[in-house]
C-alpha cells in the first residue's frame, strides 16, 4: 500500500488545521453578532451554499484544483457550519413548536443552499464554455 508522500500528508494536515481555525472563528464571530439559533442558521445556510458550489463545481467545470477543493471543503466550510450547536440549541428552546420550526427552517434552507450552490456552479460552467 503506497499512500501519499509524508510531506504531502503533513501539508494537508496543516492546511485543514488552518481552515478549521479560520472557519470556527468566523462562526464564533457570527454567533457574537447574531446570538442564538439565528446565528447558527446563518452559518449553516451560507456554508451549505458555498459547499454546494465548491463540490458541484468539480462536476460541471473543474476549475479549482482537487486539493484546493478538499482543503476549502474539509477544513474551512465544514468547520464554519456545525451540527452539534444546532442540535443543542434546538433542545434548549422553550416551546416544542419552536424546536420543530428550528429544525424545519434549518433543514429547508440548508438543502436549498446546496441546490443554489449547484445552480451557480452550472452557470460558471456555462460561462467558461462560451
Amino acid at each position: 500500500m503506497s499512500g501519499p508522500h509524508p510531506l504531502r500528508t503533513l501539508e494537508s494536515i496543516v492546511l485543514i488545521g488552518i481552515g478549521g481555525f479560520a472557519g470556527s472563528n468566523l462562526r464564533y464571530l457570527v454567533a457574537r453578532m447574531i446570538p442564538g439559533p439565528a446565528g447558527t442558521l446563518v452559518v449553516n445556510v451560507v456554508g451549505s451554499f458555498a459547499l454546494g458550489f465548491v463540490l458541484y463545481e468539480a462536476v460541471y467545470a473543474g476549475v479549482l484544483a482537487e486539493r484546493t477543493r478538499a482543503v476549502v471543503a474539509t477544513g474551512f466550510l465544514s468547520s464554519l457550519t456545525t451540527y452539534s450547536t444546532f442540535a443543542l440549541q434546538t433542545t434548549l428552546l422553550a416551546e416544542p413548536v419552536w424546536m420543530i420550526a428550528n429544525v424545519l427552517v434549518t433543514y429547508t434552507l440548508g438543502f436549498a443552499g446546496v441546490l443554489a450552490g449547484r445552480s451557480l456552479a452550472r452557470r460558471v460552467d456555462g460561462g467558461a464554455g462560451e
Binding site: I13, G17, N25, A31, N44, S84, A87, T91, Y107
Partner: protein
C-alpha cells in the same frame, strides 16, 4: 492565569476538531451511505452536551464547545450528502439520513445530560 484571547481558544479547538473529523470520516465512511458525517455529528453533540451541562468554565466552553465540537460536527457536509442521495434516486436513504442525524444527535445530548446528572449528582 493569563487570560487567553477567545480567537485562539476557538481557533485552536476548531483546528483540532477539523483534523479529528477528517480522521474519523476517512475511517468510518462508506461508498453507499455517509456514515462518517453521522458518526461525527452524534459524537460531537454528545461531547458538547457534556461540557455544557457540566458547567465548564468560559475558556473550556470556547475551546472544546465552540471550537472543537463546533468544527468536528458539520452541517454543510450533511446537507450536501443528503441532497446527493436524492439526486442518486435514493430518496428513502436521504430521508433516513436527515432523521437519523437529528434523532441521533438529540439522543446523544439527552444521554450527556443523564451522564452529567448521574456523575455530579
Amino acid at each position: 492565569m493569563i487570560p487567553l484571547d477567545p480567537a485562539y481558544l476557538v481557533g485552536t479547538g476548531g483546528a483540532v476538531g477539523a483534523l479529528c473529523r477528517t480522521y474519523v470520516s476517512q475511517r468510518v465512511d462508506s461508498e453507499t451511505y455517509p456514515f462518517g458525517t453521522l458518526a461525527v455529528n452524534v459524537l460531537g453533540s454528545f461531547v458538547l452536551g457534556l461540557v455544557t451541562f457540566a458547567g465548564a468554565s468560559e475558556e473550556i466552553l470556547l475551546f472544546l464547545g465552540t471550537g472543537a465540537c463546533g468544527s468536528f460536527t458539520t452541517f454543510s457536509s450533511f446537507s450536501f450528502e443528503t441532497v446527493r442521495l436524492v439526486e442518486q434516486g435514493e430518496s428513502a436513504a436521504a430521508a433516513a439520513n436527515a432523521i437519523v442525524n437529528l434523532l441521533g444527535s438529540l439522543a446523544a445530548i439527552g444521554v450527556a445530560w443523564l451522564v452529567v446528572r448521574t456523575v455530579l449528582g
